[in-house]
Symmetry: C2
Subunit: 422 residues, 2 copies
């Protein structure tokens, strides 16, 4: 029987679930793997430990946890990039493996930590940092490594997916959907990082690192939040046969590499279009496998803890992966060159000649109109929506078009712009 | 650099793809894992090796392959359970690891081979045996082992899914859909094992073994083929809001364990309902993760070979898993006790009182009718279809009902019976 001693730092929601899960699965792990995981130390400034099975020590100075001699692995379930970053460095410097669910830490400090771990032949486990309970990190690392990845598409933020699903499937307003997400615990009291794309961009950076084998800062990910989406757009999208999803994409075409996260229209029959509410999904297209997709709970105490335990088991089994080998220099393309077809919604004064003026501007840019639908006025007097489906064009040219359209006197509100992603 | 020597037996479609993939991915494997895979020997009775990069030896007597001294792993891509079974035993007896894509072999002879491998601390890799390129075996083994699996549902046979998708989405007849599958190479010239559920039952047995940790013979899997499905049923299913899929299920409820493979109606918005044509998918529901789903190409040379290479890499990395630990005694429930709601289609003489007689029979069995729709006669004079959606009831009682219904003089054809699976 192999014995491994771990220290847990952080006993919030995820930390408490982790303790429970560890004690309930210990026997199964022993009998299937011949491995005994001992939680000998918990680092927590003031948190109480509710689980009575825990008989170990409690360390109130978290940064002293890595100094304890009999620990093999430090598990970090605190979050943020302040104390958790110090903790990670101290753990590695003191010859402890490090396991975390912290996407911000891995996205921002991963490269530095991976190099530090490599020097000491230590392992950093971060399966729980993307897709919660979905085993996507090990799949990319172990299952697809002999493969060239062409692109990935994912729904990586459960809060955003929940809100857009509520709006799309149940005709809720953005505000009601957000409130319901907060009541159910899918959204934080301050949901900014979920809604503005920050959380997704960190996860996109981690997936990009594993998919394209290079250092990717989350700041390099093009980012748009879901808060600009209106019910009107969902209604028109539905009519056109599209669902809306908070997508994260990494697309590797020849010499181009586009990384971004933004709400997108996708065809209703596509697999991602049917992944609703808080569920996450990652679809990966690779040279030899075509598309594979992985779907499951993207957050929550037990799913996250399942991934953390799997990382611990990897280390116990001697599966040490040197992620610093994947830190190659790669060039991320300027998102301005990203091409796709686009949905524009213009709110215009209902007067003769307006469609002609708009069409003229589009033609002048050399762009094609795949569809133009003039809608009925619903609320505002004398203002009508015009929906335009633009053929494939770059970000740059569409921005310039939108700029010109907004200068037209008949265009009364900022132009809504949503990408179609195939 | 760790070096590992492999011998490949079988150079058909999958074997040839494997050779190609191995040579094109060698450099990436070297740089990412520090592992060199050398294909030093090919066993093939008379096949030609098209790839010019292969510089090794050819052994025309396949059963002599495991006797070669410098081989670490024997890779079997022959199929069937005759020579491949002999080869597996010889490989293990001669201290070679064994990697295969052969579901029949693992489903039928797995337990014996796992015990043999365990004695010698050898590994048997069979990632490619279920779900082709989908990394489902490693996910069940590594990712979910600290977890109790409640159920799995899968589409495991690409041919059946292709045929039913063509019928459902493109209104093709069964015969035309089968012909198109054969032309595209998704169905064998003799498609019996794909269509009658044999292939799916073998894969179901393997997933059940890994999910419920017990020895499961494919003969214990309840099995129905897709050849009884008629276009009429798909049309009515569509009206009711259901798609039809060749499902394989393993359901573990308290003291019951139901294993089966049969065409099923599933709600249109469910994830499995949107996995079409030759694509496979496996959805797993577990205590701590709720549902996760894994989707991808279920067959084909490159997807299958990708899984085979991942198995080889596991062995090279020292990841030896003793599957004999999972061979616990488990009891599989009699499928007669399986409860679900059901679709019945009766072709009856169009005369007064027929619905009353049918309803009476159903009431006598204590069963509830959720829906009864009398359809218009389309082709046959004076014969009309009646669709009945039965509330949840066991196989046993539904069989007895069908038996009684077929004795009614007004019922002119065998009753069609399709399960609804939630």
């Amino acid at each position: 029987m192999k014995k491994i001693n771990i220290a847990l730092c952080g006993v919030g929601n995820v930390g408490s679930s982790f303790i429970d899960l560890l004690f309930t699965s210990r026997e199964k792990i022993k009998s299937n793997f011949d491995i005994e995981i001992n939680l000998t130390l918990i680092g927590s400034r003031k948190g109480e430990i509710a689980n009575n099975d825990f008989q170990g020590q409690i360390e109130r100075d978290i940064l002293k946890v890595p100094l304890h001699k009999d620990i093999d692995i430090v598990v970090e379930l605190i979050g943020g990039t302040d104390i958790s970053y110090e903790l990670a460095k101290l753990a590695l410097e003191n010859n402890k493996h490090f396991v975390t669910a912290n996407k911000a830490l891995i996205a921002e400090k991963g490269p530095e930590l991976f190099k530090l771990a490599s020097k000491q032949s230590l392992h950093i486990g971060f399966e729980a940092s993307v897709g919660g309970g979905i085993p996507i990190i090990r799949t990319l690392r172990d299952g697809l490594i002999s493969n060239k990845i062409n692109w990935f598409k994912g729904i990586l933020n459960g809060t955003s997916n929940y809100i857009l699903s509520k709006m799309y499937l149940e005709d809720q307003t953005y505000e009601d959907a957000l409130k319901s997400a907060q009541e159910l615990g899918f959204a934080e009291p301050d949901p900014t990082f979920d809604i503005d794309g920050t959380d997704s961009s960190q996860k996109t950076a981690i997936l990009s690192f594993l998919s394209f084998n290079g250092e990717v800062s989350p700041l390099k990910i093009y980012k748009e939040g879901i808060d600009k989406i209106e019910s009107l757009d969902l209604e028109y999208g539905k009519e056109l046969g599209f669902s809306i999803k908070p997508l994260s994409i990494g697309v590797n075409n020849k010499d181009e590499l586009f990384l971004g996260t933004f709400p997108s229209f996708i065809k209703k029959h596509e697999i991602l279009a049917n992944v609703n509410f808080e569920t996450n999904v990652i679809e990966i297209n690779s040279a030899n496998l075509n598309s594979t997709a992985y779907q499951g709970p993207g957050a929550g105490g037990y799913p996250t803890s399942t991934s953390v335990i799997n990382d611990i088991l990897d280390i116990a089994k001697g599966k040490i992966f040197d992620y610093s080998n994947l830190l190659n220099p790669i060039e991320i393309s300027d998102f301005d060159a990203f091409k796709t077809s686009r949905y524009l919604r213009l709110m215009v004064t209902d007067e003769p000649g307006v469609v002609a003026e708009i069409s003229k501007l589009i033609a002048e840019k050399g762009l094609s109109i795949d569809n133009l639908i003039q809608k009925e006025n619903k609320n505002q007097e004398n203002i009508i929506p015009i929906i335009i489906v633009l053929g494939e064009c770059s970000e740059k040219i569409s921005k310039s078009l939108i700029h010109d359209l907004e200068k037209l006197s008949q265009v009364r509100e900022p132009v809504q712009h949503i990408r179609f992603i195939d």
